[in-house]
Amino acid sequence: MHLLEPRPRPSRLMRWTAPLIAIVATLLAGSLLFWSLDKSPLASFQVFFIEPLTSRYGWSELLVKACPLILIAQGLAIGFKARIYNIGAEGQLIAGALAGGGVAIYMEGSDSAWVLPAMVLAGAIGGALWGALPAWLRTHFNAQETLTTLMLSYIAGFMLSYMVSGPWRDPEGMNFPQSIMFSDNALFPLLFEGLRVNSSVFMTAFAVLAFWLFNARSFMHFQLEVGGHAPAASRYAGFSSKQTVWFSLVMSGMTAGLAGVGEVAGPVGQLNLNISPGYGFAAIIVAYLGRLHALGIVLAGFLMALIYLGGEAAQVSLQMPFAITGIFQGMLLFFLLGSDVFIDNRLRRSA
């Protein structure tokens, strides 16, 4: 059962090629899946990966999906470096959407230019608070964030359901659980006529730059990495693990909250039950696929967005359920985790 032995020193080659190997392996496994369903793998991949990129509309959609993924993953990545596993980003996204959407609903009727900035701020704070809660539970009660963030994610979902079925339900919405459509000053302006990509792209771009600088140069980042690699060394150095926990959970909550505002003040345009197709979970994969690196995450975000688009296209052209994206995402993460192992280890040379 022992397949591996440690390498004398870690393999540089594997560090860079592991994501590529994972992608190729996923494609191969995906081909098997398509083939088993009597669909030509080549034709299916054509629909899945190539077609979405053949039009301006397709590229715009790619950006629309990639930006929230990239944004959330930036925040998650710094936590993952410190081995702080925030898997409730979906809930933090919802919290940010609720906060930002709440501002939009409250300011309905006003045509001030400050509404959108206020929404963004509210979204950031809402998400940050939803990240602060598990941070508090961990630092004060030693409750592991893996389960608490996830539970809070379900709870946020129920909060959203309550608000859009009750207090914030659109009176003219025919009793559907949804809020009013936000007015123009409460929406991110579109960049091009006829395409859904909007100015929240700049928010994401700014975040990428900020995180890239943070990762490359800040002492806080160094402390996070030490905490993730060797907690005993972190104590030895006098770094505060409480600070690390608060910082990473609040930061990832904030980016998820911003992504949430980006959705409801963007392509969704209101609060309803479907503001996110699981971005909070997909962003986890994006973070790992991007090697927890600010720029790697950008590439990985685009790939994941392509999988989403492919899933939608497959629904239409190949009559496959959208759930196929979950299968691809799961496989991708598995293969990535598997290839990563070969950075520090190699197959055992038999005696």
Binding site: M1, H2, L3, L4, E5, P6, Y85, I87, L137, F141, N142, A143, Q144, T146, L147, T148, L150, M151, L152, Y154, I155, F158, M159, S161, Y162, S165, G166, F281, I284, I285, Y288, M320, P321, A323, I324, T325, G326, I327, F328, Q329, G330, M331, L333, F334, L337, G338, D340, V341, N345, R348
Partner: protein, 309 residues
């Protein structure tokens, strides 16, 4: 009052059943030091596989349960390969399993969305079911509920009284020492993970063929995660897991009886109660580091890569 109380208490046991199965399975896996966060995914795969088996064969839950167990164990093996043979990060592998399982089950299940199954009727145990209060609550349940209780008894006895149980505990405390003595640690962990997967699959099978005999995407609604939390709450002791599962079953059932009990609270709040309760129990149990440390299998979650001979 009694005629509200009895359905709640009885319903709580039924609602607890998937948590008992999944929780016991995860408890055994964690005893050997492996944390498998993919319970939710395994449960769903078990649910869809059992539904399909029940629907296609016409034998209902009798075909469904074994199918669910097999499917759960099979998906667990995917996790085991990456987390044990390749020694990848266990938490991330479990997450990958959940994402994969959710997608796979939805994919297979789309064919079965409009099907319905007959379900299982409760079996009243003679004499015992006539005892006032306790009778209808404990002894008028469907066969799978009784099976869950039997499973609990079997697992509890094996863990505390047999050599196998001792070995599992030893591996969980120190796989290095077990390896040095000569035990096949990885094989033992594979077995424990497979067992956990099988039970998670049975939990899902119960949901889709008995509890609410139909298939809906994501129908476990986070129960897999709650089962993981329950194992922590139970400090890895089966008896406490049973108690915790029952309490959660009661909390879950509450939302359906709220009106009858005169509780005027938004239904979303009641639906959120099990998840809020999970956080509460996690906090309560984690507060005292010593309690956790005394009971935690010391190698939990750490990859085991023995220097090969």
């Amino acid at each position: 009052m009694l005629d509200i109380l009895i359905p709640i208490l009885a319903g709580a046991l039924a609602a607890a059943t998937p948590l008992i199965f999944a929780g016991l399975g995860e408890l055994v896996a964690e005893r050997t030091g492996v944390i498998n966060l993919g319970v939710e995914g395994m449960m769903l795969v078990g649910a869809v596989a059992s539904f399909a088996a029940a629907a296609e064969s016409g034998y209902g839950a009798a075909a469904g349960l074994p199918a669910g167990a097999l499917a759960g164990a099979a998906t667990a093996m995917i996790f085991a390969f990456f987390a044990l043979s390749l020694a990848a990060n266990q938490a991330a592998c479990g997450l990958a399993l959940t994402i994969f399982g959710v997608g796979l089950s939805a994919f297979i299940g789309q064919h079965y969305v409009s099907y319905s199954l007959p379900g299982l009727k409760p079996i009243a145990i003679p004499f015992l079911s006539d005892i006032p209060l306790v009778g209808p609550v404990l002894f008028q349940q469907d066969a799978v509920v009784y099976l869950a209780l039997l499973t609990f008894a079997a697992v509890a006895w094996t863990l505390s009284k047999t050599r196998l149980g001792l070995l599992l505990k030893a591996v969980g405390e120190s796989p290095e020492a077990a390896h040095a003595i000569g035990y096949p640690v990885i094989a033992i962990r594979y077995g424990a993970v497979a067992f956990g997967g099988a039970l998670a699959g049975v939990a899902g099978a119960y949901l889709s063929t008995v509890y609410t005999p139909l298939w809906v995407q994501n129908m476990s609604a986070g129960r897999g995660w709650i089962a993981v939390a329950l194992v922590v709450f139970a400090t890895w002791k089966p008896a406490r897991l049973l108690l915790g599962a029952y309490l959660f079953g009661a909390v879950t059932i509450l939302q359906f009886h709220a009106q009858g009990l005169g509780i005027m609270v938004p239904i979303q709040f009641l639906a959120a109660l099990p998840y809020i309760a999970t956080i509460v129990v996690l906090v309560v149990i984690s507060r005292d580091r010593r309690v956790l440390q005394n009971n935690l299998p010391a190698s939990l979650g750490k990859p085991f890569l023995p220097w090969p001979s």
